[in-house]
Amino acid sequence: MGEHVVKLPDVGEGVAEAELVEWHVKVGDIVREDDLLASVMTDKATVEIPSPVEGEIVWTGGEIGDTVAIGSVLVRVKTAGGGASKPTPESQAAEAGPPLAPPAEAPAPQARAPKRELPLARPAPKREPVASRRAPGEKPVASPAVRLLARDAGVDLRQVTGSGPAGRITGDDLDAFIARGPDAPRGPGLARKTEVTEVKVVGLRRRIAEKMALSKSRIPHITIVEEVDVTALEDLRAALNKKPTAEKPKLTVLPFLMRAMVRALAEQPSLNALFDDDAGVIRQHAGVHIGVAAQTPSGLLVPVVKHAEARDLWDCAAEVARLAERARDGTASRDELSGSTITITSLGPLGAIATTPVINYPEVAIVGVNRMAIRPMWDGASFAPRKMMNLSSSFDHRVIDGWDAAVFVQRLKELLETPALLFVDA
């Protein structure tokens, strides 16, 4: 009989300790190899510690919630075999591992959290010999000074062709390699271009960059894409646009969408809000101020249609047209470019089939309009050509649940597919 000591293995980048969050075994339990012993949590991931051996648990270290240092004893396992804590023959036979091979006694932990790269996955039984184990004659021939330069430049000398005697890599060879990049076949007339143009990020571009970074870094976005059958809406729009007048200019889809949003937001005021996350306060606005993202020569601007709830279809249309023109001219006032409580983004004919709109911080929702297209839709008996348009809408998942977001999107769909509802008093 032997006793095997299982220690808390190194669970990742710079982590010196981990919190014990779950015991999968207790004293007296029989475990087989790879059975889970415990789960530990670092600030990055929850990691499961499997048993490297088969045997009986005779001792467990620590209680749930304890902080355990890397390398400290986690459990003691009474094993049927001989000696304690000896490297397995397999581990002795294997070549010296690449950096950070897991200890033989403690197979590398498996992370539960997604997208987390552990230093090394599970036992890697056979490995290619690492560079240091190559026979001396196989190493690239280069002086120590050139080797050092290569290391500092991150160049693998095995990729560099040496021009010196016996294929020795000279400093010039290395410089040329660094300037040129790895050798690759090149066709005539297709020259590599190595110049880099620096463009200073200033002004509006810098403000956009900051705003986008702020939004994406603070807000966990949830994006819902839904298709909307706008055939009826388009028929209505065509009819209304037949005789445009000065008071009643041509309508785009936008004013219909704005009216639909006003309706839907009346039912879900939590979406027409600004979330002051520093203060931890959500301010729901009674007035619906819709920002309309507009591309201008100098970049993205978001003029705001104030009090959309108090504007009818034509009023919305006129205000959008007026603001868009002022934004393009560069004459929009600061007031006209701020104060929105929710935003619409539309790329018009470039609108693609789906987008992942970035919320206009500190708002909590944004509605993206995708390109309209005639698509065959199944009407129960046959395919019929329908005018279809997708809406891609993002929500701040910290304060908006998926359910509420979906209800909002479905409501917009309903209102736009049956536009008469827009004109019926609730």
């Binding site: 000591v5 002795q92 016996a166």
Partner: protein, 463 residues
């Protein structure tokens, strides 16, 4: 308990450890070094340095003894020389102390904190040191294990009394009249030769068929011949079995039991990593037999824990440890480094000396190289003649097609100093033409390297 937090903790202030600490200090890494004995490790205190000091004393004595015996070929005479061995040992100790202080000064200059005591791992980031004044807890982001090695003890010849290790042999009160050396490797032969020159009757017992089994026979033959001239009895294929009543018991090559009268029995059968008591069992590191397994960055299987020098295996050489230590310090400081050395020269300070850098002809062939070999005998060297040291040669091994030098070996008096040229040539990726085309100053032993290269190219000038 006193607590220290640092970026780098080095365990062991031998050549690997102190170089690592100094380099780390130079790079601005907050470094602590722990040593249980004296600074400098085995190399400085009980290895390279003191043994070379005693070998020097023996060489000087032998010149006088040869003259006194009327055997000087160039007509030196002397009256019967004597050695005050206690004074020789004291001189050696003074050198060691000076170097101890030198290491301490270098560490201080690099702002390295020195902690004296026994280190024991608590976990991969924490080490407890038992100092004279109590326990000190050291927390470090990176730990380098540079604990070194100690002489291997034979179960049937435990150290103590007249059975001594290489460490003891360097501080004997007097020259033993009869010395039995168990183990015909370089340590046993270096010390055995020195004591033979100082007047001991030396017998070497080697279990393998020849002495210095790690070197090819061509290189070791001049050493074997010289041992014979010095009156050293070499018993190969013989196995030591124990000690009794002032004698070493052994089984001779023919299997017959044999007794060799000996005042001291020096056991030099190798060195083992000195990791006991370090608490390595707390870390569960991957091992290579007795040694700590490392990768090309000297990293162990635990992140942030590095190992350098003798604890990581053969070749157990101070200069290997130093190079590893320097590299690890730079890695800890965040620089991109990995082990890419082409050769680690090795020297036997026997008489004559042996130097080997890179691949021997056999090793090169075994590695799959088509080779050409050039050899230049010192009997054709004016400088060797004028030193009365004509025995030995320089040998160059190169790739047959590209003339890339793969290895250089030499045996001869004073060839240890040629190791610098050998190592430089191989590390720079020199070809035979590079060496042949370099002017070598005349008259020196180093010309032998140029001539051996010319020989390999087919146009030696002096043979």
């Amino acid at each position: 308990m006193e607590e220290i937090a640092c970026k780098l903790l080095v365990i062991g202030a031998g050549p690997g450890g102190y170089v690592c600490a100094i380099r780390a200090g130079q790079l601005g890494v907050d470094t602590v070094i722990v040593e249980r004995g004296r600074l400098g490790g085995s190399c400085l205190n009980v290895g390279c340095i003191p043994s070379k000091a005693l070998i020097h004393v023996a060489d000087e004595f032998e010149v006088l003894a040869t003259a006194a015996a009327g055997k000087s070929v160039f007509g030196l005479t002397a009256s019967a020389p004597k050695v005050d061995f206690a004074k020789a040992v004291a001189w050696k100790d003074e050198i060691v102390t000076r170097l101890n202080n030198g290491v301490a000064g270098l560490l201080r200059k690099a702002r390295v904190k020195i902690v004296h005591g026994e280190a024991k791992f608590r976990d991969g980031k924490t080490v407890v040191v038992e100092t004279e004044t109590g326990l000190t807890l050291i927390r470090a982001e990176a730990v380098v294990i540079a604990a070194g090695s100690a002489p291997v003890e034979l179960r049937f010849l435990p150290f103590g009394g007249d059975v001594i290790s290489s460490t003891d042999a360097l501080s004997l009160p007097e020259v033993p009249k009869r010395l039995a050396v168990v183990g015909g490797g370089y340590i046993g032969l270096e010390l055995g030769t020195a004591f033979a020159k100082l007047g001991s009757k030396v017998t070497v017992v080697e279990a393998l068929p020849r002495i210095l089994p790690l070197y090819d026979q061509e290189l070791t033959a001049p050493v074997a011949r010289r041992l014979q001239e010095l009156g050293v009895e070499v018993l190969t294929g013989a196995k030591a079995e124990g000690a009794s009543h002032g004698a070493l018991r052994l089984a001779a090559a023919n299997g017959h039991p044999k007794k060799i009268a000996a005042d001291k029995i020096l056991v030099t059968v190798g060195r083992a990593p000195a990791v006991a008591g370090l608490g390595l069992e707390e870390l569960v590191l991957d091992m290579d037999g007795r040694f700590i397994r490392i990768g090309e960055r000297c990293e162990t299987s635990m992140r942030g824990v590095y190992a350098i020098g003798d604890v990581t295996g053969e070749p157990m050489l101070a200069h290997r440890a130093m190079a590893q230590g320097e590299m690890v310090a730079e890695i800890v400081a965040g620089l991109p480094r990995a082990w890419d050395k082409r050769c680690i020269p090795a020297i036997c300070f026997t008489d004559p000396e042996i130097v080997s850098a890179g691949l021997s002809p056999d090793e090169a062939r075994a590695a799959g190289h088509e080779i050409k070999v050039g050899q230049f005998p010192f009997s054709a060297s004016g400088r060797a003649m004028s030193r009365h040291a004509e025995r030995g040669f320089v040998r160059v091994v190169a790739q047959a097609d590209r003339n890339l030098v793969l290895g250089i070996q030499a045996v001869g008096q004073g060839v240890s100093e040629l190791s610098a040229a050998f190592g430089l040539a191989i590390e720079m990726g020199a070809t035979l033409e590079d060496i042949a085309g370099t002017i070598h100053a005349h008259p020196t032993l180093g010309e032998g390297l140029q001539e051996a290269s010319l020989k390999a190219l087919g146009h030696a000038l002096h043979i």
